[in-house]
């Protein structure tokens, strides 16, 4: 029994226990017991991942009632190193979310159904990277879909939007499943069996290979929330309970990336160039569109959802660049890009967990997730504010966070795709600079977005009574956030061993530990050691601190009502800049892409038309992809449905006519 074996075996046991506990325990203690068991399930998943990363073989098989559906009718879990990384991600995120749920879930989010769905969701997520064959993969995929759908619907009775979110989510998830099923079916049709080994051994060629790739990439892109199949994400994430949003955003969508890595690294490694170009476009557009929407959104959870689209876009971009570089023989740089992808995955998992849990904490304390109604929470909820700010630091890719390390590695791989000399390649020469620009624009807008989040939510003064009267949440909610924040900082400070593990997972070479705990990329002459950077900053800070402390002793801070305020007096907190106003310059600049709808009502005074009594301004952001791409399709579908209903108009003669026509046609065909 290896660690992997133990982990794989303990997962179904813990999932079963959690499921039973959710159904059996009464309302008052359900969250505590089921949440704890789910957290343990997450830890078991993480342990499995560690085992797999250590290269310990392990497997768990179970049989189905349909002989021949998979290899010998056996569904097998046998994670490899790549799967191991994702198992760790899923496990840790799942454990933190469940732990947070212990304190967070109550009422509609802590029903039997909700807590019973959680282990299904979590176990489904851990089956996907652990699966050893396509059918098991699909099984995990759909268990995950089922569990998350049930969790998503928790608060339907109080918020009408939940229903449409559930429908969108279910439909898009099923689209993803359908595409994957078709894609795997293509692969299986040309292979002898359904295991990854069998599929990789005899991949399809030519058009079939491309069909498989397009189908699989489409399916995974849908789950990963890439534009234009991202539409479920900004609907589902805000409506789900926050700990579920965290698990969905930080772990579940990541499995789309796992799938893409699986396909491009293992199943179809030698695809034509346009696959990579396609993915690059997909990733680039997602990154920019995602962060642009995020930057102009004031619903905190919707903002985080769009930010997820952005981050997943970056990951896909990295993967596409790796594929492109590989195809021109630049393996060493391609390896760096792959490591960047894995680092982005890990980093995003860590910081998005913190951010969604932070959003949940705020929601729990204030009942608000609209940034325009928050403010001043740093003083009311300092622990939440601090943890969330660290998450935001990573989301903005600033040092010394995990996000910075990941983005740095990504950029290093992008600028070193050397295409001069004999290996000159025009496509890369054009693609790489554009990619750098895309990544940079994304990074810039992410900076703005998360300054907005932290600045508007936590700083200054509360913009609503809810925000002003908020109270910090209990430790059961803040501690998981702190653990997550610790991971963000840890990964950001000591990226060396993480990068080594990431390199091992994707089979990359040329990644070395360097400095105190840093990472070196010899193939691109680059080195990053955040600890040293911090030490250097501390050294620089010493004289500053000395001067400040000495000056402070002489001239201490004096508290006044308002230091300057342009000579005015302090006015209503609602006159502060809000999230909407903060993003207003961007909305104007990207007006063509965002097309917001604005209403301006000016009420004049009775006395004169020159005197304004009241101005009402409303701005609504509508997802343009949804409006342009989905709404016509949906309208068409409903029209088809309405037209089709006329087929069954109740006339027995018409029905007989159908049968008669079928008979005549069959007779004609047979006679032919």
């Amino acid at each position: 029994m290896t660690l992997t074996d133990v982990g794989l075996l303990s997962q179904p046991v813990l999932a079963g226990l959690a499921f039973i506990a959710a159904l059996a325990v009464n309302d008052s203690r359900r969250s505590a017991i089921a949440g704890t068991l789910n957290a343990l399930l997450g830890l078991a998943t993480a342990a499995t991942g560690v085992g797999a990363l250590l290269g310990e073989p392990g497997s768990l098989t179970f049989a189905t009632g349909i002989p021949g559906i998979a290899h010998l009718g056996q569904l097998a879990l046998a994670p490899d190193r790549l799967g191991g990384i994702f198992l760790v991600v899923v496990g840790v995120v799942g454990a933190l979310s469940a732990w947070f749920g212990v304190g967070y879930a109550h009422g509609a989010t802590a029903t039997r159904a909700a807590w019973a769905a959680y282990p299904i969701f979590l176990w489904g997520m851990s089956i996907v990277p652990a699966a050893g064959d396509a059918v098991t993969f699909l099984l995990g995929w759909e268990l995950m879909a089922l569990g998350s759908t049930v969790l998503l619907h928790s608060e339907h009775a109080t918020r009408p939007q939940v229903r449409s979110a559930v429908l969108w989510y279910a439909a898009m998830t099923h689209l993803s499943f359908v595409l994957l099923l078709a894609g795997f079916a293509v692969l299986i049709a040309s292979a002898n069996g359904t295991t990854w080994e069998a599929l990789a051994a005899s991949p399809p060629t030519g058009v079939s290979a491309s069909l498989a790739f397009v189908l699989l990439a489409g399916g995974f892109a849908t789950k990963a929330g890439l534009v234009p199949v991202h539409v479920w994400l900004p609907r589902a994430h805000p409506e789900a309970p926050s700990h579920v949003s965290a698990a969905m955003s930080a772990a579940m969508v990541k499995l789309g990336i796992y799938g893409l890595l699986l396909v491009t690294l293992r199943l179809l490694p030698d695809g034509p160039r346009w696959w990579a170009i396609g993915l690059l476009v997909l990733g680039g557009v997602s990154a920019v569109y995602g962060i642009l929407e995020a930057s102009v959104t004031s619903d905190l959870k919707r903002l985080l959802a769009f930010s997820t689209t952005e981050n997943l876009g970056l990951m896909v971009t990295g993967l596409a660049v790796a594929m492109m570089l590989r195809s021109t023989g630049q393996r060493a740089v391609a390896d760096v890009a792959l490591v960047a992808v894995v680092l982005l995955v890990i980093s995003h998992a860590a910081f998005k967990t913190v951010l969604f849990l932070g959003a949940g904490s705020i929601l729990h304390a204030t009942g608000e997730r609209d940034l325009d109604r928050l403010g001043g929470l740093a003083r009311r909820m300092p622990r939440t504010a601090f943890a969330t700010s660290i998450g935001a630091l990573a989301a903005a890719a600033l040092p010394i966070s995990s996000g910075f390390v990941a983005e740095w590695v990504l950029l290093q791989s992008l600028v070193h795709g050397d295409t001069r000399g004999p290996t000159a390649d025009r496509v890369i020469a054009i693609a790489l600079p554009i990619t750098v620009a895309v990544v940079a624009l994304t990074a810039g807008l992410a900076l703005l977005t998360f300054v907005k989040v932290v600045g508007i939510a936590f700083l200054a003064r509360g913009r609503s009574p809810e925000a002003t009267n908020a109270h910090e949440n209990p430790a059961s909610m803040t501690v998981p956030m702190w653990v997550g924040a610790g991971l963000v900082l840890g990964l950001g400070l000591v990226p060396g061993w993480v990068a080594m593990v990431a390199a091992a997972a994707v089979g990359a070479s040329g990644i070395e530990p360097a400095g105190l705990a840093g990472v070196a990329l010899p193939s691109v002459n680059a080195l990053l050691d955040p600890v040293s950077l911090v030490l250097m900053s501390l050294a620089v800070a010493v004289p500053i601190a000395v001067i400040t402390v000495r000056a402070a002793r002489k001239a201490p801070r004096r508290t006044v009502d308002l230091p300057w305020g342009c000579g005015g007096v302090r006015v209503d907190p609602t006159m502060q800049y809000t999230a909407t106003s903060y993003a207003e310059p961007l909305v104007r600049i990207f007006d063509d892409a965002l097309r917001p709808t604005r209403d301006l009502d000016v009420t004049h005074t009775v006395e004169s038309d020159y005197l304004v009594r009241e101005v009402a301004y409303r701005q609504r952001m509508v997802d343009q992809v949804e409006r342009g791409l989905y709404e016509p399709v949906i309208r068409l579908l409903w029209r088809i449905g309405d037209q089709a209903r006329r087929l069954q108009d109740g006339s027995v003669h018409r029905y007989l006519g159908f049968s008669f026509a079928a008979l005549v046609v069959v007779l004609l065909v047979v006679t032919w």
Binding site: L139, H153, A171, V178, A185, V186, G641, Q643, L647, V666
Partner: protein, 483 residues
């Protein structure tokens, strides 16, 4: 042993007779469930013993009855589905109604006869008998709508099945000219290579089209939404859950003959057209469906279409998947019709628009509805997930990629339509009504049990390595399917 074969036929028949004669007696009420259980147990027993005997069939009544593993499996399925539907009916208190029980028992007997018969003609008679018994059951409530549904059902059903009989007659003619007039399955399979291809083609095509009517395949499906939505819930469950499948069973058998006589292409083409058309009809009509009982009926058409596609694909994997799908779909669908009947009773309307906020008001009604919908839509851990995956994979392997893409697209549309309507009923805040729903009695646990058990069985069937693996293998081998 051959005496054993009479039990599942005679017990329901006797129950029917008893209930018909003593219509007011309290003890007649559970007779339907008793019949179902008898069929289930004998089905299981037969399946076990036949599998143990290496798949050798049992015969009775001078070879008129013949049970191989496939027939035993179907028998078990009929029993299982009927148990669910009738147990659920029994779990709510009601006055004994002898006619109803008698008709249900007769219906069960007719289906059993269809499965037991080794003779195509007897099979036809049995299937027509199901039309006759269920016609009264569909029109049982005697309202205008029920009568209308019954009329359409009888006219369309009988005419359709008449076409099947024409096909059988033509097949019989073919065997006669081959020198050995017979309608026995075994003999037909043996004779198949010697049959005149042109005549056999005609016969098979007509018979398939005819049985497709009873199997609810488009374009012969038109009776189905009306009949299934108007029949009493347990009857709808039985009709949707197994009657359709019994007709499909006939098609499965026909496929074996057709493959041997005409090669695999003919039946495959025919069934693919029927299957895809059914999926199309189901997909387009669920999109904006306004009546939840009809929604379930269209879901049945969808599943029959998928099974028809599975039969068309052929081969061990697809055929096994179809057989398991029959069981899974039967269990879930009967549970769903039971549930929809309960919702109808509680809400007083079968319109989707009239049912609002069910989850918030009546979680006891909404919960099983949502779970069952998930099962019908092919979510794991329910068995229909595995069968759908298996059918698609097998189809691709059989070189039917374009068809499979169409099938998947249509399944997606059905998914959207179905989940849209069900979510519209269940999710959302409870409306402000004068009736305080909290005072409405919840369903007792006893009444919930059948639905729960059915859904549980639909899970178990997929995940547990059934000893049925061997049995299914025997059933598929019995069909003469070549891998």
């Amino acid at each position: 042993m051959s005496l054993f074969l009479w039990i599942p036929l005679l017990v329901p028949a006797a129950c029917a007779a008893a209930a018909a004669t003593r219509r007011q007696a309290r003890w007649t009420r559970p007779l339907g469930l008793v019949s179902a259980l008898v069929i289930l147990v004998t089905g299981l027993g037969l399946l076990g013993s036949i599998t143990a005997a290496g798949g050798e069939a049992l015969t009775a009544a001078g070879d008129l009855f013949r049970v191989d593993a496939l027939a035993a499996y179907l028998l078990m399925t009929i029993g299982a589905v009927a148990t669910v539907a009738l147990w659920a009916d029994l779990s709510v208190p009601a006055e004994p109604d002898g006619w109803f029980t008698a008709l249900v028992c007769a219906f069960l007997a007719a289906m059993t006869l269809a499965v037991l018969a080794d003779n195509l003609g007897v099979l036809w008679v049995a299937i027509e008998a199901t039309t006759i018994t269920t016609a009264f059951l569909v029109g049982y409530r005697s309202g205008r709508r029920s009568l209308e549904a019954a009329w359409k059902y009888v006219v369309l059903g009988s005419v359709g099945v008449a076409i099947a009989f024409l096909g059988i007659v033509v097949l019989y003619a073919a065997t006669r000219s081959a020198g050995h007039p017979t309608l026995s399955w075994v003999e037909l399979v043996r004779l198949a290579p010697q049959l005149d291809p042109a005549v056999t083609r005609l016969g098979i095509a007509l018979a398939t089209l005819g049985f497709a009517t009873k199997a609810g395949l488009a374009p012969m499906h038109s009776w189905l939404p009306d009949a299934h939505s108007q029949a009493p819930a347990p009857v709808s469950g039985l009709m949707s859950g197994v009657l359709l499948s019994v007709a499909l069973y006939a098609v499965l058998r026909l496929r074996t003959i057709s493959d041997l006589a005409l090669g695999p292409g003919f039946m495959r083409g025919l069934l693919l057209v029927l299957g895809v058309l059914s999926l199309l009809v189901a997909a387009t009509l669920t999109l904006t469906q306004r009546d939840y009982k009809r929604l379930l009926a269209y879901s049945s058409i969808e599943h029959m279409g998928l099974m028809a596609v599975g039969v068309a694909i052929g081969g061990t994997l697809a055929t096994t998947a179809v057989l398991v799908h029959i069981l899974g779909h039967g269990l879930v669908k009967s549970a769903m019709f039971v549930q929809s009947g309960r919702i109808l009773r509680a809400e007083g309307s079968s319109k989707v628009a009239d049912v609002v906020g069910l989850s918030a008001r009546r979680p006891d009604l909404a919960g099983p509805l949502l779970l069952g919908t998930a099962a019908l839509l092919g979510f794991p851990p329910f068995v229909l997930f595995f069968t759908e995956v298996a059918i698609i994979i097998a189809g691709w392997a059989a070189g039917l990629a374009p068809v499979m893409l169409i099938v998947l697209a249509l399944l997606l549309l059905t998914f959207i339509g179905m989940s849209r309507q069900v979510l519209a009923m269940t999710l959302g805040p409870a409306p402000d009504r004068s009736v305080d729903d909290s005072t409405v009695a919840r369903l007792p646990r006893k009444a919930q049990a059948p639905v729960t058990v059915a859904l549980g069985a639909a899970v178990a069937a997929g995940l547990v390595a059934l000893p049925a693996a061997a049995a299914l293998g025997a059933a598929v081998t019995g069909l003469g399917v070549t891998p």
